[in-house]
């Protein structure tokens, strides 16, 4: 939930002077590592590293940011060892961090370590330092320019390492990063060619500097530039920087009235930049830190913004429970829904006057990880053609480029899965099949062969179910083509494709076709594991045929809310009809259009202003990779679909998810034709307090509640006639300990979108009649309808209620004997709410 900033003096915060949070180890730890990296300590703390019960290293750390503290080990790690760390500071000793077991990297990466990344790119002529990312901690990293080694660090940090370059990069050199662990070498990084730096170089800027601070962040630095820094006119030296920002530790701490200056230079023969300068601000200006979402069950706090080198103090219900540093502070207590949390930052001699205050939500998942980030292999690509069967294919390769060899080590571990993609209808003059290259690359570098089928022969003004079937037919032809290549000796793909692990992605009419395909493909030795229908049409629905119900594979649909072509977001019909085998997912995205997911489709068809084309691509990349990694590679990336985690770098605020997984208890999906008075468990429901709830088709039919429903299912619309109206549905007697109640819900659109949000409360009633309530605002809130000109839509999305958050006004709720779930419309605005798919779920 959003926090607010309050004055510290108005709070009775109780410091725990014995408290020091444990730091944490950069994970995972792998055998052969000769160094480990520690984070989350307070500046200048003593760090103890314990290996198998004995302290192996003790050092005085400097600053926790930007890269933690990397501790060199006297002996390489061995698989099975356990490590933990603690910190000592100001006479205090923290508890030990949780133990981490050393693993064998060949178990996690049987085809070799991930390829390193030069990040940030590009590399510049005369650059003196480069950061290499995507590393396994404690390995060896080095950089070559035109094949010659120009920099190396053995025992690298995780997840990235700065490498000094000597001599500086020359003009037009081919630069690559390399990595090894246990003498197991990864593929080299993508090749970068050195470019001229900007002329003139930008004047360095500064983040705000505060009295008491000990670190100085200088920004706008060119990649590999050397930065000369002065303090009150006194030169402090020249520092190499990999680019972006340089974060220096300085001694003594800053005082008001001081002046700091910096300039940067690339080639010694070129003039340096102009000089940037900043004053030191007084302690009273020190802001409150920024913190990430907090939810019930958290035992750590994510810090999203803070002054470098600051200590972060965390209070639960006014009592201190954490002292550490950004980006994560471990807490001594687990947070409970409804707790009030205060967070402030502190510099030597300066305690922040401002404090961020927030309430712990029942559900507010953290931002953690990125399903697109898995980068293991170089990517090869090639066009294929066999008469009308044609397209492009991207694959994991030994090196980047067209027609490069298939990755030999990956092939040696077994066959790899394949995703077939199909574009939709568009001008045949445009090569639409080339428009998903970004997504194909993402999948290929993870170890998935990604084929994009050229369906242009079917594009134009022809239309109908026949056109969709033609597309499915053409995709099957491509599948057969790759089946043939797989059994063709000497083929690039010979013996390498696992057609028992096939995914499908279709855009627009292509989405319609990939939904058709699994229903018609028959037994040809192919198993469809997942299908993604993006901005899909549904021509069978328009023809009058039954809509295909996706079954036997994981189904996902992405629905652009501002789609100016497929106005009805027909993909929602497939979601509503799909079986969760093993799950189904719907991604409804505000401010996105039909075309921008395909790089060849130039026009913005959006009916409102839309997010950038790159953000469209990011949406498909994130959720598509989460789907296919989960279903084809067995990775635990469905956590980004079921709202367990939020992916970083994604415009989450406009993404509204629905999700259902197999094997859960459905209390009511309203599909039983048994009326509103009986639920799907064949148990009774009741209404009280002015509730008027009934079942309606969520479809574009005259019997719908209104014209705002675009799916293909039956659901419930609850119209409260009075504040506090209640709908009650019985569940027998269920033990909901540790379980969640999942419910799809929407504010019913009724014309212009009213100001201000609405919500409701979900109640759990035990056998004694005690009811505990959870407010929808406590689980993320009820999304507002998308303000789409001319077409109102009530698009449902999933809210997850943790049973443990239910709080009765009096007494104690017996979660082991819940007999009913209640919905209370308590907002007083009397807005109608739409509900569907009430489930009791084991997380």
């Amino acid at each position: 939930m959003d926090g607010k900033v309050v004055e510290r003096d108005r709070l009775d915060l109780q410091d725990d002077r014995e408290l020091l949070s444990p730091p944490w180890l950069g994970e995972p730890l792998y055998q052969c590592a000769t160094a480990v990296t520690v984070f989350g300590f307070v500046p200048h703390a003593e760090i103890d590293l314990e290996v198998d019960g004995a302290i192996a290293v003790s050092i005085t750390a400097e600053f926790p940011e930007p890269v933690g503290e990397t501790l060199a080990l006297s002996a390489p790690l061995v698989s099975g060892q356990t490590l933990r760390v603690r910190q000592r500071w100001a006479g205090l000793t923290s508890p030990w961090s949780p133990s981490v077991v050393v693993r064998d990297h060949t178990v996690d990466y049987p085809a070799g370590p991930p390829r390193p990344q030069i990040n940030p790119p590009p590399v510049l002529h005369c650059g003196s330092r480069t950061r290499v990312a995507n590393l396994l901690g404690g390995g060896n990293v080095w950089i070559t320019a035109d094949g010659a080694e120009v920099g190396r660090v053995n025992g690298c940090a995780i997840p990235g390492q700065g490498v000094n370059v000597n001599p500086f990069y020359g003009s037009g050199q081919r630069v690559r990063a390399h990595f090894e662990l246990c003498r197991d070498q990864s593929p080299p990084s993508l090749e970068h060619i050195t470019q001229p730096g900007p002329v003139p170089l930008p004047i360095p800027g500064f983040d705000d500097v505060y009295e008491g601070g000990e670190q100085l962040r200088i920004n706008s630095i060119a990649n590999g530039a050397r930065v000369s820094v002065s303090r009150n006119g006194l030169p402090l030296g020249t520092f190499r920087c990999w680019g972006g920002a340089l974060l220096l530790g300085l001694n003594p701490a800053f005082s008001t009235g001081e002046n700091l200056e910096a300039s940067q230079q690339l080639c010694p023969t070129d003039p340096p930049s102009g000089t940037g300068t900043t004053p030191v601000q007084p302690c009273t200006s020190l802001p409150a830190p920024g913190v990430g979402p907090v939810q019930a069950g958290d035992s750590r706090l994510v810090v999203t913004s803070s002054v470098p080198g600051s200590q972060i103090l965390v209070y639960r219900n006014l009592v201190q429970v954490g002292l550490g540093s950004a980006p994560i502070v471990n807490l001594t207590q687990t947070l409970v829904a409804g707790d009030t949390v205060h967070v402030l930052q502190k510099l030597p001699g300066c305690v922040g006057r401002l404090v961020v205050e927030l309430t712990v939500a029942c559900v507010d998942p953290p931002y953690q990880g990125d399903p697109t980030a898995l980068d293991l292999f170089p990517v090869g690509f090639i066009e294929y053609a066999d008469g009308p069967v044609r397209g492009s294919v991207y694959y994991p390769a030994d090196d980047d480029g067209e027609n490069t060899a298939f990755n030999e080590r990956l092939a040696g571990t077994g066959r790899v899965p394949v995703v077939f993609m199909a574009h939709g209808n568009h001008s045949p003059a445009d090569p639409s099949y080339l428009g998903y290259d970004y997504f194909q690359r993402s999948l290929a570098r993870m170890g998935i062969v990604a084929v994009s089928v050229d369906c242009n022969a079917l594009n134009g003004a022809g239309s109908g179910v026949g056109n969709i079937e033609d597309r499915a037919d053409l995709i099957i032809d491509s599948i057969r083509h790759f089946q043939t290549l797989d059994v063709t000796p000497g083929s690039l793909f010979g013996g390498k494709l696992d057609l028992a692990r096939v995914g499908l992605m279709g855009h627009s009419r292509g989405g319609d076709a990939i939904v058709t395909l699994p229903a018609v493909i028959g037994s040809i030795g192919v198993t469809i594991r997942a299908g993604l229908a993006l901005a899909s049409t549904n021509f069978r629905y328009w023809f009058g045929l039954p809509t295909i119900a996706p079954a036997g594979y994981a189904f996902m649909t992405v629905l652009p809310a501002a789609d100016g072509d497929v106005v009805d977001n027909n993909g929602a019909q497939f979601y509503d009809q799909a079986s969760p085998d093993p799950f189904k997912s719907q991604v409804y995205v505000h401010s996105t259009n039909h075309n921008f997911f395909n790089r060849e489709w130039a026009f913005d068809d959006g009916v409102t202003p839309v997010i950038s084309r790159s953000s469209h691509e990011r949406i498909l990349d994130v959720y598509g990779c989460a789907l296919f990694r989960s279903t084809l590679l067995g990775h635990a990336t469905e956590v980004y679909l079921d709202q367990t985690l939020k992916p970083v770098g994604t415009p989450i605020a406009i993404v509204h998810l629905s999700y259902q997984k197999e094997g859960q208890t459905t209390v009511d999906n309203h599909e039983d034709r048994n009326g509103i008075a009986v639920n799907s468990l064949m148990l009774p429901t009741s209404q009280a307090g002015g509730m008027s709830a009934d079942e309606y088709p969520f479809d574009q039919v005259s019997a719908a509640f209104n014209g705002s429903f675009f799916g293909l299912t039956t659901g419930m619309v609850a119209q409260p006639l009075e504040r506090g109206a209640v709908f009650r549905t019985e569940v027998g007697s269920e033990d909901l300990t540790g379980r969640e109640i999942w419910l799809r819900v929407a504010e019913v659109a009724t014309g212009s979108v009213p100001a201000g949000g609405t919500g409701f409360q979900l109640g759990l009633e035990d056998g004694a009649g005690t009811i505990g309530w959870i407010d929808s605002d406590f689980v993320g809130g009820l999304p507002r309808p998308f303000d789409r000109p001319g077409t109102d839509k009530s698009m449902l999305s999933l809210l997850r209620f943790k049973s443990g958050c239910a709080r009765p006004q009096r007494g104690k709720l017996d979660l082991q004997g819940i007999v009913a779930v209640l919905i209370r419309c308590d907002r007083g605005d009397k807005r109608a709410l739409a509900f569907d798919d009430l489930q009791l779920v084991k997380p």
Binding site: N425, A461, G462, S463, G466, I476, F539, W542, V567
Partner: protein, 132 residues
């Protein structure tokens, strides 16, 4: 340094999905027996389908939705384009076509009320079925 207040960029023209004018409509009986290479179609084999040969004064835009011919209460969604101005819509249930019914051109999935009247009316064909 002076600050630029900026100027809101006008949203580029959206693709236009305006339908062309229909200049003629002819009907004829036909057989409809679509064949797929890899599976059996969900569409029925029909010996007595009716084909509407529609000529327009311009191309129908290529988009996700498809053109439909609305013949009275019937909506014909199956269409093949011979070229930019010649389209063949097929009615697989010709018995539902009402002689004299007005014909309009629209988009699949959009309300019939949004379809554009052509000025033509359905006249049952006299000719014998032709091979599709």
């Amino acid at each position: 340094m002076s600050s630029d207040p900026g100027e809101l960029e006008r949203q580029p023209d959206r693709p236009t999905y305006d339908l062309p004018r229909v200049t003629s409509v002819e009907t004829r009986r036909t057989q409809f027996a679509p064949r797929r290479r890899n599976f059996k179609t969900a569409l029925p084999d029909v010996d007595t389908a009716v084909e509407f040969l529609v000529v327009t004064d311009g191309a129908i835009p290529a988009r996700a939705l498809g053109p439909v011919l609305v013949v009275g209460e019937s909506i014909l969604t199956e269409v093949a384009a011979a070229d930019d101005t010649h389209y063949r819509f097929v009615a697989l249930e010709p018995q539902t076509l009402e002689p004299g019914a007005p014909i309009s051109l629209g988009w699949s999935g959009r309300p019939v009320t949004e379809s554009i009247p052509t000025g033509f009316r359905f006249e049952p064909p006299e000719s014998a079925p032709e091979e599709n």
